[in-house]
Structures are given as structure tokens and as C-alpha cells.
């Protein structure tokens, strides 16, 4: 069914179609509509789920973990400060192997108080072991929630579905809502190998010394590695069932591109328009959108960057004292490759500063003029 949905409601519909069983969430701008709608759907009896109105995000994640460990499909959504407050529990969900799905609305971190988009909140969680999917439109938001449960429950790792504050969360777009029956076919019920069950009493997470902890971490990393293929399969299968295919990355006009733009989230969407405009002007430009940053899509990135003349990675985030995070990771992934194009990185759009088609074109021109990359190039700071 075609419907005009805001990004936040796309999350709610995604969760509803996935038949989540426990929702524990706490409000924060710009996430509130996710929770409000779910709260109504549950109150209306349209979803058989328990909604826990926790007193903080910390408890939200704890409740989701408890629920997931007890065998229920759990969902939450948050943003920025809320996500940060969950940090300890994000680690917990990974160590406990609870396949929770969390919608995060990318918002810049305070102080100063701000509510606009930036990726520092979710990327600050890149070392927790959560899988992370950055969406470029509301259709993808909805579709990704469903895929995420499928992948997460197979590899027993949680997933974060990430969307830009306002630019997606509060923007209404046309979204095709899949039929419940099809989703039910696509997504089997949650049934973890171990759960909290008096008939089979296990303790979860007991003290582990140096003799065992290492192996348990290794197993998590192996699950992450396995998940790459699972994401690919699952995204392809999604295409077969629903007509929209997804991968870890997405390429646009890359075939003969000499200049490659690497971007994520809605900047990638706008960059697509910029590519069209530049192509019209005869520039051989292409676009690689990184959709999934954890697990990092090594193969896709390496394959796509190979042989380009120049690569520009656009970051709406910064790891202070190091630089743009996508830039950093792409360079790192390419380091030991044979063909190593010069990779440039530009940081832009922090705190919701708008990124327009013209801006992207200017960045490309700027990089075309440059010979040597720098650790950080800024675009848009008023100097």
C-alpha cells in the first residue's frame, strides 16, 4: 500500500509489521513520533505487544535486553542523548547476544543543546558491536527494520537502523507498505538457542576470566563476519519478495566513473542528484553509498574503489583528533590493496547544516583541484 509517511512512522510500521513483542522506549526529539504511534497501535490492540514506558533510555535498553533474553522480539527507538545514555547497555546487548532492533534518529550531541542531524551519536557506538544501517529514504527505513530482525536473529547481534533527524524523521515521503502476510513469510518467529526458561535453567553472563572471555569475543566477531553474507542474502531475498533489493552498499553510475563519491544516509541521496547534474556536464562521476557500516563492507568498498582516479568521502561526523569516520575507515580498508586511488575526505553538514546539490558539486570541484589529500578538509564552516 502506497502511503505518505514520515521517517519516524516508517520505523513504527516496520516494527509493527515485524510483530515486535516488547517495546520499551523513552521520548526524545526527533524520535517521539515513533513511540507515540507504536503506543497507539498497541493500545488499539493492532499489535500484540507490551509497551513499557520506562523512566530513561538506560532502562529502555535494559528492558529490551531482558525481554529478548526471555525470548521476545524487542524494539526501541531513540536519538543522540538517549542513545548515549544507553551506551553501557548497547555493549550489554552485544555480549548477551540479544538481537534487538533499535531505530536511531541521527542528531548532533549536546552541548550545546541541539536537535539537528549529524552522525556522531550513532558512530560513537561503532565499537559496541551493533550492526548499523544508514538509510537514505523512508522506504528504506521501513524495509530495513524487517530485514534487520531477520539478520539479527540469525547471527544473534543487535541492529541499529539509522535515519537523519528531520531530513528523514520528519519528512513525509511516499512509502510502499508491504502486506503483513508477506512479511510473516519472510520473517520467521524469533526462537533463540538459549533463553530464560525455568524448564531449562541457565545463567547468562556469569563471570568469565581470561581463560574464556577471549573466545567469546572471537565468536562475536565471527558472527559479525558471517552477518555480511547474511545481509547480502537477506537483502536479495527481500528484493524477490517485495521488489526492492538491498545490499551493504549501493552504487550509482559507477561503471565508468573516474571520480567516485562515497557518502551515506541522505547526503548520498542528494549526491545522486549531484551526480546526475555533473554527468550532464560531462564529468565521469559516480556514487558509492555505504548503507551498512557495521559489519564494514570490505569487499564492496574495495571492489568499487579499485581503479578510480580520485575518491571523495563525505562525512557528516567527526572523530575529534582524527577526522571523518567514514573517511578513516574507507582509507583503512583500502590500505593494503594493490590499486590505491587517492582518497580525499570532507567533513560537512555537522549539526544539521544543510547539504545541497551545489555543495556536493563544489566539493567535487575542490577535490579535483587538489593534489594531495589532507587529514581533514572542512566544507561549510564560516571562516
Amino acid at each position: 500500500m502506497r502511503k505518505v509517511l514520515m521517517g519516524n512512522h516508517a520505523l513504527s510500521y516496520g516494527a509493527t509489521l515485524s510483530r515486535v513483542q516488547v517495546i520499551a522506549a523513552y521520548p526524545i526529539t526527533p524520535q517521539t513520533q515513533v513511540v507515540e504511534l507504536l503506543s497507539e497501535i498497541v493500545a488499539d490492540g493492532k499489535l500484540k505487544a507490551k509497551f513499557i514506558r520506562v523512566e530513561s533510555e538506560h532502562s529502555a535498553m535494559a528492558a529490551c535486553i531482558g525481554a529478548s533474553a526471555a525470548g521476545a522480539r524487542a524494539f526501541t527507538a531513540t536519538s543522540a542523548q538517549g542513545l548515549a545514555l544507553m551506551h553501557e547497555m548497547l555493549h550489554w546487548a552485544v555480549g548477551a547476544r540479544t538481537p534487538i532492533v533499535l531505530g536511531n534518529i541521527n542528531r548532533a550531541m549536546a552541548p550545546p543543546w541541539t536537535i539537528w542531524t549529524e552522525q556522531n551519536d550513532s558512530l560513537s557506538q561503532r565499537d559496541t558491536g551493533w550492526m548499523q544501517v544508514y538509510c537514505q529514504n523512508n522506504q528504506e527505513v521501513l524495509d530495513s527494520v524487517i530485514q534487520a530482525y531477520k539478520v539479527s536473529e540469525r547471527v544473534l547481534l543487535p541492529t541499529m537502523i539509522v535515519l537523519d533527524a528531520f531530513v528523514l524523521s520528519h519528512t513525509y515521503e511516499v512509502v510502499d507498505i508491504p502486506e503483513q502476510e508477506k512479511v510473516d513469510e519472510y520473517l520467521p518467529p524469533y526462537n533463540p538457542p538459549y533463553k530464560l526458561d525455568p524448564d531449562e535453567p541457565h545463567a547468562f553472563g556469569g563471570l568469565t576470566g581470561p581463560d574464556g572471555y577471549f573466545e567469546l569475543r572471537y565468536i562475536i566477531e565471527k558472527a559479525m563476519e558471517e552477518s555480511r553474507e547474511v545481509w547480502r542474502e537477506t537483502g536479495k531475498e527481500f528484493g524477490e519478495v517485495f521488489g526492492r533489493e538491498y545490499g551493504l552498499t549501493e552504487e550509482y553510475k559507477t561503471g565508468d566513473a573516474e571520480f567516485l563519491i562515497v557518502a551515506s544516509a541522505t547526503i548520498a541521496s542528494t549526491a545522486r542528484v549531484a551526480v546526475d547534474v555533473m554527468r550532464e556536464k560531462g564529468k565521469k562521476v559516480g556514487l558509492l553509498r555505504i548503507r551498512v557500516i557495521r559489519p564494514f563492507p570490505f569487499d564492496e568498498v574495495r571492489e568499487c574503489l579499485k581503479g578510480r582516479k580520485k575518491v571523495l568521502v563525505i562525512d557528516r561526523n567527526v572523530s575529534f583528533g582524527f577526522g571523518g569516520i567514514f573517511y578513516q575507515e574507507v582509507k583503512s580498508a583500502m590500505y593494503n590493496e594493490e590499486h590505491r586511488p587517492p582518497i580525499f575526505g570532507i567533513i560537512t553538514g555537522l549539526g544539521g547544516r544543510d547539504v545541497r546539490v551545489e555543495d556536493i558539486m563544489e566539493m567535487v570541484e575542490d577535490v579535483e583541484r587538489r593534489e594531495k589529500p589532507e587529514d581533514i578538509i572542512w566544507k561549510g564552516v564560516r571562516v
Binding site: V22, G66, M89, P201, F204
Partner: protein
């Protein structure tokens, strides 16, 4: 043959508690009452060690080790899952130390209490952070030494009145208990099992290394705490109806209780006098709330 307590041992020996650990005995007794259809949510505390290392466990019921501040919220999540999955016959128990209850976990507990989530919250109270080596908690009594309240500056605030705080949350059932009175403890947990909503049970559990006491005195201390009126045995219904289970008419002087404990060794006579006065005043307050004064 009728035994004074259920014979079944849900907990096995071999666990890692210190010699004479009150908290270990608390769990043993609690599990006798709760039985095997129980799930425990345990935050950081001595019990995260006592239960034993992966892949071993001493309790023989499902146990979820959770973060220090989340005993209650994790339990709420488990309960929600069981509700949706149709498993209504399981006791969902948050099991935390005093630090995890009075301090870092109070918010999650307050939230669960406010929502009146159907869980039993058990705080085994050894009056300090023992697992990390005896630091002050809000449950540490007035005048006690801990590593963060050195003898030159022993704890200057009285113990936080967690029972009244929970009573102000108007949850259906609150009780205090201690290991010297196992039958009372078991009875209270059985009541908690039968009550819907949030239940809070505070169980005084002496700790030899933390209190600097002899291991063999653990039960004796627990008894003296009651007999000296330091730890009144109470039940509270809906935050309103206060019941004193044991009205200690002829209290043992508090000094009898204190002098067995190294953590009070530095106290001077006037300090002990002040503590006695404090205990007397609190007792009056409780008598009043129980309608006995």
C-alpha cells in the same frame, strides 16, 4: 516429617561466597521459598561472583546477569516478555545488593514501582559495596567505617530510609526480613509471590569481611539487629498499612550489636550514644506509622 523450612535446595553448594556469607544464606532461603519456577535478574554485586564462573552456576534457576543499575528494568523486560509469551506462572525476581538498590539502581526501581510492574524486587542488604571491597553505600549505617568513609571520617549520614521511599511509591507489598528468622523470611516471600504488582523485600544480610566480624557470628548479628531494634521486621501494604511483625519490647542495647563489628570499633561512647538515640527515634517513628504509639 514436618521441617521448619521447605526441604528442597534449589541452590547447590560450591559457590564462591566468603565463609559465613549472609548473602549466600539469603539466597538459599529465598530460593526455598520461591522455588524453581523463578527467574533472577541480578546486577553487579557480590552475587555476580558468588554464582560462579561461566559455564557454571549455583542457583539452578534461570539467572540473567545484568548491569549494575538495571536490576529492576531488566526484570520488567523479562516480565513483559513472559506476559506476551503466556508464561504467567514464573516469579520474576530482581535480586540486588544495597548499592544496586539504594544508589545506582534506585531510578530503575522507582520506575518499575511507579508502573507497578509485576516483579519481586529483593535487596539483600549488607550495608556497603562489598563486591568492590567495602565502600560506602547509602545503606551504610551512621558511624560505620568503610574504605571511603575512613575511621577519621566515618559515615556521617544515617542509612537511607529505603522502606519509606518505597512506601511512598504505594506499591502493594513491602517487607523487611533477615536470615536469623528464616520462617518469617520464607513466609514473606510466599506472600510476595501471591501479590500482583511490584513487591519490595529488604533482607539484612551480614557480611563478615565487610563488617569485620567473625564468620560464625553472621546469624547472631542478624538476630541482634532485630533484637536491638536496629532492623525492625515490617510488612507494608499499599504503602499505607504498616505492620510490625515483631514488637521488641525489651530491646538489647545497640552497643551489643555494634561491638561485635570491626567497622564500628573506632566509635567513642558518645558516638554510640548518638546511634542509640537515633535508633530509638526511628523506632518511635515506626511504632507511630504502625499505629502502635
Amino acid at each position: 516429617m514436618r521441617l521448619p523450612l521447605p526441604e528442597r535446595e534449589v541452590m547447590t553448594p560450591g559457590h564462591l561466597a566468603c565463609q559465613g556469607c549472609g548473602a549466600a544464606l539469603t539466597m538459599r532461603l529465598a530460593l526455598k521459598a520461591l522455588g524453581p519456577r523463578t527467574v533472577l535478574s541480578i546486577p553487579a554485586c557480590c552475587w555476580s561472583v558468588i554464582d560462579g564462573p561461566f559455564p557454571h552456576s549455583t542457583v539452578n534457576v534461570p539467572l540473567f546477569h545484568t548491569a549494575f543499575e538495571t536490576a529492576a528494568s531488566t526484570a520488567s523486560g523479562i516480565r513483559a516478555a513472559f506476559e506476551i509469551l503466556g508464561k504467567e506462572d514464573v516469579n520474576v525476581v530482581a535480586w540486588a545488593g544495597d548499592g544496586g538498590t539504594y544508589d545506582i539502581g534506585i531510578q530503575a526501581l522507582s520506575g518499575a514501582a511507579e508502573r507497578n510492574d509485576n516483579i519481586i524486587y529483593i535487596c539483600y542488604d549488607n550495608e556497603a559495596y562489598m563486591n568492590t571491597g567495602i565502600q560506602r553505600s547509602a545503606a551504610t549505617p551512621l558511624g560505620a567505617w568503610t574504605t571511603t568513609t575512613p575511621v577519621k571520617h566515618p559515615k556521617s549520614e544515617p542509612k537511607k530510609d529505603m522502606v519509606s521511599i518505597l512506601a511512598a511509591h504505594r506499591i502493594p507489598y513491602i517487607a523487611t526480613a533477615t536470615i536469623a528468622y528464616p520462617e518469617d523470611l520464607v513466609r514473606k516471600l510466599e506472600r510476595a509471590k501471591e501479590t500482583k504488582g511490584t513487591k519490595f523485600i529488604l533482607i539484612l544480610s551480614p557480611c563478615p569481611p565487610g563488617w569485620k566480624t567473625r564468620p560464625e557470628d553472621t546469624v547472631k548479628l542478624s538476630r541482634l539487629a532485630v533484637q536491638s531494634r536496629v532492623f525492625p521486621l515490617l510488612e507494608i501494604e499499599n504503602g499505607e498499612k504498616w505492620i510490625l511483625n515483631m514488637n521488641i519490647k525489651k530491646p538489647v542495647p545497640v552497643v551489643e550489636y555494634l561491638k561485635l563489628q570491626g567497622r564500628f570499633r573506632h566509635l567513642k561512647e558518645e558516638d554510640i550514644q548518638r546511634i542509640q538515640e537515633y535508633v530509638d527515634k526511628e523506632w518511635e517513628r515506626i511504632l507511630k506509622r504502625c499505629g502502635l504509639a
